[in-house]
Amino acid sequence: MTAITAGRRRAAAHAGKRTTDWRARYFNWFCAGVLLVFAAIWVIPLLWALDTSLKPDAVIAAQPTSWWSGAWTLHAYQLLFNLGNIQTWYLNSFIIALLSAVFAVVACSMAGFAIARTRFTGRRVIYGLIAAGLLIPPQVLIVPMFNEFNFAHLLNTYWVQVLPAVAVPIAVVIFVAFFNGIPDELAQAARVDGASWWRIYRRIYMPLSKPAISAVFIFTFVWKWNDFLWPLLTLTNTRIMTLPVGLSQVSSAFGIMYAEIMASAVLGALPLIVVFLLFQRQIVEGIATTGIK
């Protein structure tokens, strides 16, 4: 008797497990289905831009919303490259983003190291001041900053973009947090051996800080590459414009030549999508650990 009930109970438990298994499987299919629908919606704008950019303007005029065109062409891209502006904008954006990222990493890591590891008088006040800077969005400073650069005759140069991007409070906070995670004994032991603070920073702490360096580098680079309002205000000369500012002019230049407009959008979008494909892990980890936006 007891054996039978025990057996029945086991069977019931087994059956219960099987139904939850089924339910779990259905639920997983449901999740995957929803995700696929959203993913489809998410890729359509980019694919549609690419699709349009590869069609002759005549085909777009005749059948603007058909995905399939018999006559694929790179004509729009050829035209853009022949105009030559887009190469200049690429180069400008690249130089500005690179210089900003390098300077930001160097200046912010040095300050972060000094605050985290050396006990200089006043460092608490300094760190408080830097943390307060987190609250000030650069957008509210455009008017006085414009006056400042106008006065220094630096409008329409790379410097008007690079200089304000060097001292980023959040980058210092990231470096301080990261350096605090590296045992202080390393610095103390090196001090006993007679190493200078600069040497400890340069030879011990920096080589151990690749995740923090790449997070700050990538974010400063992406931020400056995509920055719009400030370059729009300060770069009015076509030869010095960054890619986003240049792109904002093309739609008026091309009117209803949609293939050309979409080709410039694709060329604008492409570099960072490629960078993202290559450094997906670092970028995602960087966001997850710092939450920089």
Binding site: F27, Q139, N180, V284
Partner: protein
Amino acid sequence: MSIQTIPVYADERATGTTGATKRRDESRSGWGLTAPFLIFYVLFLVGPTVYGIVMSFFNSSLEHSGLGGFAGPDNYTQALTSSDFWQSMWHTVLFTLMTTPPLVAIALLLAIFTDRLARGRWFFRLIFFAPYVVPSAAMALIWTWLYTPQIGLWDSWLSAVGISNPPNWLADPSWAMASVALATVWWTLGFNFVLYLAGLQEIPRNLYEAAAVDGASRWHQMRRITIPLLNRTTALVLVLQIIASLKIFDQIFLMTSGGPNYSTRPLLEYVYDIGFTDFRTGYAAAASMLYFLLILAVSLVWFFVSRHQQKGA
């Protein structure tokens, strides 16, 4: 983003001659290492902030050099009584109200679903995050084309399902803001999605197993375990999203230029217009400061809420 406190070292108050020289040397090195950052910080953040505050009390203009005549609080009273100022402030807030709920809720849902997958997570992460790295100007070109009346892709889809007379999305005052908001959801969702995925990673798997043994359904697990344990991530996502949305400029400037008839002009574009089209920089600085107070209020609320949360944890 949490700010760590710096420890006080025991020998900081240490006396003795060798200790004192060592301390002086350390202090000098510390200042030396901080100096490059501080120079830039003072020149391009502290300086402009102070200058901006000063300017906001003067009749500064790009048409003449120097600060111009002292205006006292006139710029502020003018801004606070200007209907254009309040309208653009309202557009900024409206845009934030329209974008924040979907950008948080959809990101959360998609992240929870993606987290359940046994494989292929990288694929969805790639798809949802890719638009985020597209420059605003490229995004605006693409979405303006999608929204183009009659020949745009969206209108062709709508006519396929029988809606033959849709509004002119970006040129209709009652639809323009919603259209830009929708494009923004597509553009920036990936950032919140990635933050949520990271938050989900920290939930121990055995909690789910324990719940499953107790017979909790997936839906229950999600409501009773996943979402409550993500509270801190949600607080972070929410505040970052509100602040990012309040900074709206690019998309509206590029897609509607603040139109039609100023019906979408956000505050930053108002500052841009009065400062750089009308050249009234003093007044523009005052409007910026009022806008800054709004963002500051959001940051401070978050600061106190998260401190409260930390104490509770």
